[in-house]
């Protein structure tokens, strides 16, 4: 900033107006062992967004009676939640709006907001970069690890001070892509796994470079291994199989191409990768997976218009990995981002609704056996469920 600009800014700032005092932060409140606790979920935290993803609201849906209430904490048109013990981590990543990590305690409403850049990153960049946090895990009672999709480094956050204290460099893994595009994080024993999309054609969205899973030591955050996936564009969470020996991830490749993606299985012990369900088996792009039982998966399948056939729809399938047959749990004509969620004996599916006003949008609840338990849980008029997460 030049001296003339500074003088100009000072002159023109006269009469800026009285600004409200920012709300109080309570970050030390969150730096507790509870961050890493595994708790039985009692509710779902649901982000409802407006049909054009301009705005969002957060809701708590009881797993007991599926009653819905507003959560008094802000959301955006692109906000996802992650449970960290009794707390909720909100990843805001709305361009032009909020782009940060916000910790929220539903019990007493306390909030801690973190701007996800180190001081060095803030000063080194010519302008503030888009961060776009995609996932977060707790490493210990006061440290979080955040996947910053638009930056080539994971952020290590000290919760008590609400600062990013260090980063984990991912540039060695970009391959032919302009960026690593880290997406999902998961604690696996004494490791943290992170999926990298490594999209080498982000403008056309026709990637050819397979995705990668990087395995980090959970204490030192040193890289232990990198596991190459078979297909491009891993998307969504790493979900454990029922036998605990592997993790599944959906890779959808390109939405324009049928057959370049699958649900892939990664053996924890050996790192071996194999396909579980190919796109062609379900005639669409698999962009979310949940494990129902040893032989059944819940798959979200998003189809692109293929030639003259109107395959433009969203389906959620209960797929039998042995018989290779599928039961359709949901079919919709519009896209919705929320992945199926398995909570106890139930699987919760987000229905994006139809039309401009997203008529009939809400949650649908099934048993693991595919039996419909609740036809619809509506969260709010004209809002579609964008993200659904189990929480305490």
């Amino acid at each position: 900033m030049t001296r003339r600009s500074l003088a100009l800014a000072a002159l023109l700032c006269a009469g800026c107006g009285a600004d409200p005092t920012p709300p109080t932060q309570s970050c030390a409140h969150f730096a507790t062992a509870a961050l890493t606790a595994t708790m039985a979920p009692a509710r779902l935290v649901v982000t409802g967004v407006s049909p054009r993803y301009d705005a969002g609201r957060l809701f708590s849906v009881s797993l007991e009676d599926f009653s819905v209430r507003d959560l008094p904490i802000e959301a955006t048109g692109d906000t996802v939640a992650r449970a960290l013990g009794p707390f909720v981590a909100l990843l805001h990543r709305a361009i032009g709006d909020q782009d940060n990590l916000t910790l929220y305690d539903p019990a007493d409403g306390r909030v801690c907001q973190v701007a996800l850049l180190t001081d060095a990153e803030r000063t080194a960049a010519p302008t503030r970069p888009l961060i776009n946090a995609h996932d977060v895990v707790a490493l210990d009672a006061r440290t979080l690890l955040v996947a910053r999709y638009n930056l080539d480094a994971l952020a290590v956050v000290d919760v008590a001070s609400a600062r990013v204290t260090r980063t984990v460099d991912l540039t060695p893994f970009v391959g032919t892509a302009p960026h690593a595009y880290p997406d999902a994080l998961r604690r696996v024993g004494d490791e943290v796994w992170v999926t990298l999309q490594r999209d080498n054609d982000p403008l056309r969205a026709n990637p050819t470079q397979p995705g990668l899973v990087v395995r980090l030591d959970a204490t030192t955050l040193a890289v232990r291994a990198a596991v190459a996936l078979t297909h491009p564009n891993p998307y969504g969470p790493l979900v454990p199989t029922t036998d605990g020996r592997a993790l599944l991830v959906s890779t959808f490749g390109s939405y324009n191409t049928l057959g370049d993606g699958a649900v892939e299985r990664i053996e924890i012990a050996t790192g071996a990768v194999s396909d579980v369900v190919d796109e062609r088996a379900v005639n669409g792009n698999i962009d979310a997976v949940a494990v129902l039982d040893a032989t059944h998966l819940a798959l979200r399948v998003s189809a692109e218009r293929q030639g003259t056939s109107a395959l433009d729809d969203l389906r959620v399938l209960r797929f039998d990995t042995e018989t290779r047959t599928a039961q359709t749990l949901l079919r919709a004509g519009t896209w919705g981002a929320a992945a199926p969620v398995v909570v106890g004996e139930r699987v919760v599916i987000a229905d994006p609704g139809e039309g401009y006003a997203r008529t009939n949008a809400g949650l649908r609840v099934f048993g693991r056996d595919g039996t419909e338990l609740r036809a619809r849980v509506s969260i709010a008029p004209s809002l579609l469920p964008y993200d659904v997460q189990p929480a305490r």
Binding site: D97, N100, L130
Partner: protein, 668 residues
């Protein structure tokens, strides 16, 4: 300083004209012509406001600034006057509004409306805002109305003027005009140049609203534009208007700053455009008509490269070209007690372009418009009727389609007494989808050839009271209206990377508009315009739902100026303006945290023409005098945070700005 004064006086010498009496006479002639045109527009059954732009146009920042005083008009900005702007009229989006320049419709088959920031305010003489519907000659797609801009016309004799100014944020404007009417020839050449550094400060929360933000300088918001207008006309040997050639060419380049919390460094957009119109009036014993042809070419470039791209996306360059050609004819002839004005127009548009990705996307639209306006009446009453059918033949790649949008209108005006006019007007129209909505853009928008046209109707009822008492002229207008549009086209996200246009929603708007204009000689004037509107989205069962995003429920504009001449000081004019915009939700779900709160902007101006050099006027304009740049944004937990004042989420508006200018005018 002495060099500057010498230069100024030298320039003044070159444009000094004839004695003051002659100046006053030609000013009267010019003023009478414009006033007559405005009365004709505003006295029809169709509600309309005609704005005289001659005084304010040369150094205005944008056309939108000039239109704001018309009732029912609301301008949404993404920054200063150079940034993309959209105009809503009676709660309707820009895609439902036809914008025309000297009768040539600027809306094209590839765009959703016309960006007003691209139009040169310095080269305009008048703007006619038609509310609710548009004259048949402007086509069938005017679901909400139309704005017709009239370029400068030559005055009798030789007229020259030069205006220049500079101001806050590196603002710079220049307007030069020379016109000649001698014998049967009249010619006008005008140049307008505008520019800005765009370096206004704004509140940046850094993407974390709960943490303290900072006031920072807007980056990459620079802009430059040059526009050239040339008009040559001939009158026939009876002094009637004859053939006329008009050329308007322009070039604009501007930085693309991105949202305030995610600034860019490098991306820019530029446009080159040219419009040429040749018209040939025809005269018969009892009729008159006009033949015309027009060509518009436009080349747009969007360069998203540089150190920091827009939204930090992968760099790319996109270019598109549009060319259109039209031939048209209008006629006006009496048929007994009726007057018939048929119109025909053939227009062919070619759209080509693409990103540097999938090759060119090319599509064409050929439109044949046939319509008429029929009127009958006396000075006391008038009935009007208009109808038009447009055959649209679209072609893209291997697809071709034929569409037939139409428009129909009925109007009535009655003046029970001289000063009072009561009017009613009803109109129906259909708007065909644009070519990208139908066939996609090979980028993020996927085509939907099954789209239906948007259809709408509008009904107006109003009254106008005018009175002239000695030196005082007054005009009061009030209108109530209801409009509805079905099958509104909106983009829907169909997967992570693609959008598709679909017929999704209906909207209904109820509104009241009012305007009061008072003038005392040419010394003082007050104009107050106000609008209240309830714009709602209707669900599939017709039930009223949320408010239409981006549309405030109330709008008020007030402008006042007074001139006086203290002894030997020359003429001093003081002006003030106030603009109030009510709360507007920015999303379809009317989320409180995403509402643009009500705001009031205050402007002021001061102008001085010294007695020793009446051709010179020095002016100082201040906009957003109270420097309103932030507003509280409520949070669901009952607290609030600071947010920048904005019309579009994430795009801050500038604060207080000053602009100083001088104008030298020679009139015969």
């Amino acid at each position: 300083m002495r060099a500057l004064a010498a230069t100024t006086l030298a320039a003044a010498c070159c444009v000094l004209g004839s004695p003051a009496a002659a100046q006053e006479e030609s000013a009267t002639v010019r003023g009478q012509r414009v006033a007559a045109d405005r009365r004709r527009i505003e006295s029809s059954p169709r509600p309309a406001t005609s704005l005289d732009l001659r005084a304010r146009g040369p150094l205005a920042e944008s056309v939108a600034d000039l239109l704001d005083e018309a009732p029912g008009v609301h301008v949404r900005r993404t920054g200063d006057g150079f940034s993309p702007q959209s105009l809503t009229l009676r709660g309707a989006p820009g895609s439902h509004l036809t914008v025309a320049l000297d009768g040539v419709v600027l809306n094209d088959a590839a765009s959703d409306g016309v960006d007003l920031a691209l139009l040169p305010p310095a080269l305009l003489e008048r703007a006619d805002v038609y509310r609710g519907s548009a004259p048949v000659r402007l086509g069938t797609a005017s679901l909400a109305g139309a704005v017709e801009l009239i370029t400068r016309r030559p005055d009798p004799g030789l007229t020259t003027s030069l205006s220049m100014g500079a101001g806050s944020f590196g603002a710079r404007r220049l307007a030069a005009l020379a016109s000649l009417r001698a014998g049967r020839t009249e010619a006008l050449v005008a140049l307008g140049a505008r520019g800005t550094d765009g370096t206004f400060t704004y509140y940046d929360d850094g993407g974390a609203a709960r943490l303290p933000g900072t006031f920072t300088l807007r980056r990459n918001a620079w802009a430059d534009a040059i526009d050239l207008l040339a008009r040559v006309c001939r009158r026939d040997d009876r002094g009637r208007a004859g053939p006329c050639l008009l050329t308007l060419a322009g070039w604009r380049s501007r930085g693309v700053p991105g949202p305030g919390s995610l600034p860019t460094d490098g991306p820019y957009a530029s446009q080159r455009r040219a419009l040429t119109r040749l018209s040939w009036p025809l005269y018969g014993d009892a009729w008159r008509g006009e033949l015309w042809s027009a060509v518009i070419v436009r080349d747009d470039l969007f360069d998203n490269t540089g150190r920091v791209t827009l939204f930090n996306s992968a760099p790319y360059v996109a270019r598109s070209t549009t060319a259109s050609m039209e031939l048209g004819a209008t006629l006006s002839r009496p048929l007994g007690p009726l007057r018939l004005e048929p119109t025909a127009r053939l227009r062919h548009e070619r759209f080509g372009g693409g990103q540097t990705l999938d090759g060119d996307l090319s599509a064409t639209r050929t439109a044949l418009l046939a319509g008429y306006e029929l009127s009958a009446g006396t000075p006391r009453w008038q009935l009007t009727h208009g109808a038009a059918l447009e055959a649209l033949a679209d072609r893209a790649a291997t697809t071709s389609d034929l569409r037939l949008p139409w428009t129909l209108s009925l109007g009535a005006r009655w003046s029970p007494v001289d000063a009072l006019t009561i009017r009613a007007h009803a109109a129906w129209a259909r708007r065909a989808p644009t070519l990208p909505e139908l066939y996609g853009d090979r980028g993020t928008v996927r085509g939907n050839p099954s789209l239906r046209p948007e259809t709408g109707w509008n009904f107006d009822l109003g009254a106008v009271y005018t009175r002239e008492t000695g030196p005082i002229r007054a005009r009061f207008e009030v209108s109530g209206y209801v409009r509805r549009v079905d099958d509104v086209i909106a983009l829907v996200q169909v997967n992570r990377t693609r959008f598709e246009a679909r017929n999704l929603v209906a909207s209904r708007v109820l509104g009241v508009e009012a305007q009061a204009r008072l003038a005392w000689r040419d010394r003082a004037s007050v104009t107050v315009s106000a609008a209240l509107l309830d714009a709602r989205i209707l669900d599939a069962s017709g039930t009223l739902g949320a408010r239409v995003p981006g549309v405030p429920w109330s709008d008020l504009s007030a402008l006042a100026s007074v001139s006086f001449e203290p002894a030997r000081a020359g003429r001093i004019t003081v002006g003030a303006g106030l603009s109030y915009v009510g709360l507007a939700y920015l999303d379809e779900s009317n989320t409180a945290a995403y509402a643009s709160p009500a705001r009031t902007l205050v402007n002021a101006s001061l102008a001085w023409s010294p007695s020793f050099l009446r051709a010179l006027t020095l002016s100082l304009d201040a906009t957003n005098l109270l420097d309103l740049r932030t507003a509280p944004r409520p949070l669901p937990d009952g607290t609030s945070v600071t947010a920048a004042v904005q019309d579009f989420l994430g795009y801050p508006l500038p604060g207080r700005a000053l602009f100083a200018s001088l104008t030298l005018t020679n009139r015969p």
